[in-house]
């Protein structure tokens, strides 16, 4: 499972900080009073999850969006009751659940976290609470795809950082499109932007099953386990949680919860089978995280990537950097041209043109870029206009920044004395000639520092387009870091790459400023 966070850029900062904190202070420092004792004293079990991750795990109640519902909400409540306390959810970006757990933001992370060897190195896993598998979904009228083997050469959507992504990459020759949210891949599938979607059964059951335009292909594949993640040294808590899960399984309460969410299937019998024969307490040594049927394809890839030298990530990161560069430069060209048109409309246009330009600028400055991107990419198809993600990113960033450019130009234009245009006019030049030859060159020189500034800001804002299924540098980082948990070193590499792209830009702009200035010295 992944997360639909539209807040990756803040998540990124947080991840870096958390990684740094974890590195500096380590997680062993907090072993004074055990987490279990703290929970009992506090009377609450704080469990971390991302409610933006989506249904049916933890998601906003459609009736009262402030409330979270989902099978994991029910599970957490039952678990807390077994421990004699109340459950309290802590919202956290899914990508950063483990770093936040280590930092001590909550007692445990319970949010469709797949048991993988990489994660086992970082955290303690409880007994598994769900056996998931990956379900392949295609459009109802799809003829070509009848199984996993048919995916070569096709565009397949999945969640960023999920085991399914690794499985798809393992096949080879599959064009994997990764998403941050769970609903979006199915939407893109219905819109024919992609050919198939491979995601966890619970997600498919919630988003794809009811959609008449989509259908399942074959049986779910690549079984794996969801388990609760605990801090490495919380052995007592692990024992308590395992005991509670065992009781919930034996009593049939867990089955009732899953049935409520239409999630119970034959695979879940394995949870019962894995229970110890005796009722003796489950020791940490018998932690069932090593239980059967973890997706072999996925774990093999993850294990490799965890041990891999940094250089092996470079192709992915460089490709991401290429996309970042492409999007920012093309968007900036659009922003500069459109911004100029808007500024001229506003400064010299007729009243309706002036109003139009002012309206555009106010609306674009007054609404979040993220919403604009969502509307362009996911909203316009409702009106029959389906843009590719690259075009949507170009338009989204370009049109947004045009509003800011327009204001910078306007400041530049109004800084040019009136007498300049009057002199041009009195020499017989037309207004257009006067603007182009006399006013604009001077305005541009005044506006240049602001334009440079905006370009660098746009350059970094380009990471937002990852929400519309583009793998630019930040997204590439996110994918790699969340699957390998190497947030820190990869973060430094990516930061250096961003800097290596933006700094020459500053230098170039400074030289341009100097040469424009130098012409007058």
């Amino acid at each position: 499972m992944g997360q639909a966070s539209g807040r990756r850029w803040t998540a990124l900062l947080r991840i870096l900080w958390v990684a740094l904190a974890a590195l500096l202070f380590g997680s062993a420092a907090r072993a004074e009073t055990s987490t279990l004792d703290q929970i009992k004293q506090r009377g609450t079990l704080r469990w971390g999850a991302d409610r933006e991750g989506g249904a049916p795990y933890v998601f906003p109640d459609p009736a009262t969006p402030d409330r979270s519902i989902g099978f994991e909400v029910d599970l957490a409540a039952a678990l807390a009751r077994e421990l004699g306390v109340k459950a309290e959810m802590a919202q956290n970006a899914w990508d950063a659940l483990i770093p936040a757990l280590e930092r001590g933001d909550f007692d445990l992370a319970l949010n469709g976290i797949e048991v993988t060897p990489v994660r086992q190195q970082r955290v303690l896993f409880s007994r598994p609470y769900y056996v998931y598998a990956e379900q392949l979904v295609v459009r109802s009228d799809e003829q070509r795809i009848n199984g996993m083997a048919d995916l070569k050469g096709k565009k397949v959507g999945t969640l960023s950082g999920a085991v399914a992504q690794a499985m798809l990459e393992q096949i080879g020759g599959v064009e994997v499109k990764t998403y941050a949210g769970q609903g979006e891949p199915y939407q893109d599938l219905a819109l024919r932007r992609i050919d198939a979607v491979l995601m966890d059964v619970p997600i498919a059951a919630y988003y794809a099953k009811p959609n008449a335009k989509l259908r399942y292909v074959g049986e779910a594949v690549g079984e794996g386990l969801y388990a609760i993640a605990l801090r490495k040294n919380d052995l007592a808590l692990q024992q308590a949680v395992d005991g509670a899960l065992e009781r919930l399984l034996r009593s049939g309460e867990l089955k009732r919860i899953y049935e409520k969410w239409d999630l119970w299937d034959a695979r879940q019998d394995k949870l019962l089978a894995a229970l110890p024969a005796a009722t003796a307490a489950t020791g940490p040594a018998s932690a069932p995280a090593t239980a059967p049927a973890v997706s072999k394809a996925g774990t093999a890839t993850l294990e490799q990537s965890r041990a891999a030298p940094l250089i092996s990530f470079m192709p992915t990161l460089l490709r991401g950097a290429g996309v970042t560069l492409l999007i920012s430069t093309t968007s900036m060209v659009l922003a500069i041209v459109l911004g100029l048109v808007l500024a001229l409309m506003r400064a010299y246009g007729s009243r309706p043109l002036r109003g139009l330009a002012t309206g555009y600028i106010e609306v674009y400055r007054g609404t979040p870029l993220l919403i604009q991107l969502f509307i362009l990419y996911y909203g316009l198809p409702n009106l029959g206009l389906t843009l590719t993600s690259l075009v949507a990113a170009w338009l989204g960033l370009g049109m947004n920044y045009a509003a800011y450019e327009a204001e910078i130009y306007r400041a530049g234009l109004s800084a040019v004395p009136r007498g300049q245009l009057e002199a041009a006019l009195s020499l017989g030049m037309t207004r257009a000639q006067g603007l182009r030859r006399i006013v604009l060159p001077q305005a541009f020189r005044i506006a240049l520092p602001g334009i440079t500034n905006d370009f660098i800001a746009l350059f970094k804002d380009s990471s937002l387009v990852s929400i519309i299924a583009l793998v630019e540098l930040t997204k590439a980082y996110n994918m790699l870091a969340s699957s390998t948990l190497r947030f820190f070193e990869l973060g430094i590499v990516v930061a250096v790459m961003y800097f290596a792209m933006s700094y020459p830009l500053s230098l170039l702009a400074r030289r341009l400023e100097r040469s424009l200035q130098g012409g007058r010295r």
Binding site: P417, G428, R521
Partner: protein
């Protein structure tokens, strides 16, 4: 060449011009004098369409400009600007262009003169304003007087039939005034039709064929300099001249001597209470 008939203009509810009549014949040099705010600049700016007016009309070289700013007026203004050059108080040279480009831009863009021809013409004009050695400089590298002489050359490059000077020396250091006035005097001597708004009474007396006195938006008196400066018929003319001049009749010798330029005499002639 330039005829102004019953020109009326209001701005923000204020009556700027009641009804102004003024004719400037070809080859004539008319000086507009009068207190600050009397409308000298505005009148000039009306002639080449930088300002609109409300009533009356202006005829320049056969082109009639009516009140308002419709498309007919824009067309008339376009034609008038081709015939009439203007020089501003603040020079308004283009700071991002060299002296050469300041002069050649309009001939190239407006008249379609080839660059080489425009550049050759610019060289001749710079010689005429005694600035050949400044051709590759940028405006801010020049003194105010030099900038104003470049501005004159720039206007002349369009081969105008008439020139409007809007207080061309008011923004200059006193020691720079003479060089600019000398260039203007040479132009007038060559027969250029000229209207100049100025505070330089000596210059007006020396160079103008006629002097028009503006006060509060009206022309109170028009006549040859001798008549205006020695025997003004209007009380308001006398009052104005009394304020700006120590003596009435300046001599030609004083014009050549920079120390006698009115920028000094005007201030020293102010009553002590004002100084």
């Amino acid at each position: 060449m330039i005829e102004i008939h019953q020109l009326g203009k209001s701005f923000a509810g204020q009556r700027l011009f009641q009804s102004i009549d003024l004719e400037v014949a070809r080859g004539e040099a008319v000086a507009l004098i009068g207190p600050s705010g009397s409308g000298k600049s505005t009148l000039l700016r009306c002639i080449n369409g930088l300002e609109t007016f409300d009533s009356g009309h202006i005829v320049v070289d056969g082109v009639t400009l009516q009140p308002g700013d419709g498309s007919a007026q824009r067309e008339a203004v376009r034609k008038i600007r081709r015939q009439v050059g203007m020089v501003f108080q603040q020079f308004n040279l283009f700071p991002h262009l060299t002296v050469l480009d300041n002069i050649t831009l309009a001939p190239q863009r407006v008249l379609g003169v080839p660059r080489a021809v425009a550049a050759e013409q610019a060289r001749q004009l710079l010689e005429r304003v005694h600035l050949s050695h400044r051709i590759d400089r940028y405006p801010e590298q020049l003194s105010g007087g030099e900038q104003q002489r470049v501005a004159i050359a720039r206007a002349l490059a369009m081969k105008p039939q008439a020139m409007l000077f809007d207080e061309p020396t008011s923004a200059l250091d006193p020691e720079r005034v003479g060089e600019v006035l000398r260039v203007i005097a040479e132009l007038v001597d060559d027969g250029m039709t000229t209207v100049i708004a100025t505070h330089e009474m000596d210059f007006a007396a020396e160079v103008a064929t006629r002097v028009a006195v503006l006060d509060a938006g009206n022309i109170v008196e028009v006549g040859p300099p001798d008549h205006i400066f020695r025997n003004p018929t209007q009380e308001r003319t006398r009052a104005f001249l009394k304020r700006v001049l120590r003596r009435h009749a300046p001599s030609a010798a004083e014009l050549v001597d920079p120390n006698a330029l009115p920028a000094d005499s005007a201030s020293s002639s102010l009553p002590p209470a004002v100084q």
